[in-house]
């Protein structure tokens, strides 16, 4: 699975993208656990960051597959 980081989360993860191999489909919570294992620094951002799957915001029931592009979206500040 492709993972994309933006804004301050790039600094936390020390990269703007990474590959996260998935054994099978997972829900958002399980995905977060995998992410925190690899990037413990993200823990403090879990409450404020949203997940997007293939360019759409995900919710708690979204199922993520190994072929998805997942973005971690910290609070936005456009305009």
């Amino acid at each position: 699975m492709h993972i994309l980081f933006f804004a301050q989360l790039k600094d936390v993860a020390r990269c703007d993208r990474t590959e996260l191999p998935l054994a099978g489909p997972v829900e958002a919570n399980a995905l977060w656990e995998l992410l925190l294992e690899k990037f413990p620094g993200l823990a403090g951002h879990r409450a404020s960051a949203r997940l997007a799957r293939n360019g759409e915001y995900a919710d708690a029931k979204t199922i993520f597959a190994d072929t998805d592009e997942v973005a971690l979206i910290p609070p936005v500040s456009g305009g």
């Binding site: 933006f6 020390r14 936005v76």
Partner: protein, 549 residues
Amino acid sequence: MKIAIQLTSKPIDISRLREEFRGRAGAVVEFDGVVRDAENGQTISALEYEAYSPMAENQMRHILETLGEKFPCLAAHVVHRIGVIPVGETAIYVGIVAKHRGEAFAMLSAFMDRLKQDVPIWKVRAISVKSEVGSLKFEGTKSAIKSSSSGWRLEEALAEISSRCRPLPGVRTPLAEALDRVLREPVIAADDLPATDKSTRDGYAILEHDSSATFQVIDTIHAADWKPRQLKTGEAVRIATGGSLPGDGLRVVMQEHVEREGDRIRVVRRENALNIRKRGAEVRAGQTVVAAGNGLTAGALAMLATVGCTQPLVSPRLRIAHFTTGDEIVSPDQKPAPGQIRDSNSILMRALLRSFPCELTQVHLREDFEQAKVEIGDRRSEIGGVDVVLISGGASVGEKDFTRPLLEWLDFEIVFNRVNIRPGAPLIFGWADDGRRVAFGLPGNPLSHFVCYQLFVTTALRRLTGAAVRGFLRGRLASKLEDASNPRETLWPARAELDEAGWSLTPLPWSSSGDVNCLVAANALLRVPASAQNLDAGIAVEFIPTDRT
């Protein structure tokens, strides 16, 4: 509803967008979100925005479609700029067209609220650097023409030219065409250089304080790789010179200081050096790498390329028309009859202007005003419309002189027509269009021509391009100057050499303003004050260099 959405890293042209909305019936409501000069109480010069582009565009479209059900509108156009946006420039433009104003206002307001909640665009950094753009502003004076029988003093004339000329609007230009143009806005690095910690050696990255004797080599990093990872005690990563370190808190052990066997290494020598070039060691993000007002040299262009500035805002190519006059002038390839001379001013001016990127038109005119009007004829508006008109010859006060009426016919207002210097006194300066067009009538003698170009024309050209105006440099006289006395200040051709003590100036012999001989060696003009008698070797003098403007 017709929806158009765009993310761009280029400046947003509001007037063009507005034009697209012209002529549609009903209400047009527009919002222009501009970068303020303060962020969290700090004075800033720019903001940097980042976007998750495809999703940001989809989200904006989705929001507009959803809101369109509630507030039926005819069209919506959103442009959001990303990257570094200077203060005062547009970050977002939203235009809404509807039959009535109510739904257009409601749509715009609701859209901006939703944008700030859901569209993945971020202000990632406030950049605070002193802006150099302000130095381009210059308040011109419109003083009445000063009259003096002996002419204007040198400083007065230079100050007047500076204050009358206005920088021409900058143009975005590809790097390949930007050499010698003047940069019109500071170029700011968006990222650190280097962007990551880099190894300065071929060797092995290990934890900085890892005192293990042997290490397991778990990966290889080439110069172009970016492989962040956490190293553990006893682990090493093979890394090439220029390779990006995989994390913080590391050091690189030179390959000459290890013995390798299979995928294990043994460190045989330890040194204090980390062998790492730190992120940002060369340039920090937000730093001005080339300031406004700088002429773009080959090296400056390389810097712009390094930071990804491919379309710098630079001075335009100047449009210059140069007229030579004088019935005694023949082409250099002809043998002059008695009383005639070959034209040297055409090539002199063409060569001098090489320092300024320009489009030069050169025309020879018969020295007769009525005939010159006929010769220029249909091209009057074309020639009168250039940025700079230069006329060689015909500036002395004589029956045949016609530069002044010619410039007035080309709609220039004459500001002064005499400067109290030698050579070069009969200099005419005119202006038009509030200082966006200027004209000079230059005395036709080659040395006068050269002096007036170096002092006055370059001042005008530098102001039009937005470059800083040069002052005089200081040096010392290398040899005694005798019989320099003259009621007027003299600009004396000289040879300037740089030695351990600074600039040393050797005056060159010259006898009249028609002297070409002294120009062969001259690379400077030395100021000799009015009424100076003899100048001794070693005294301090002022000069301008002439071999490169």
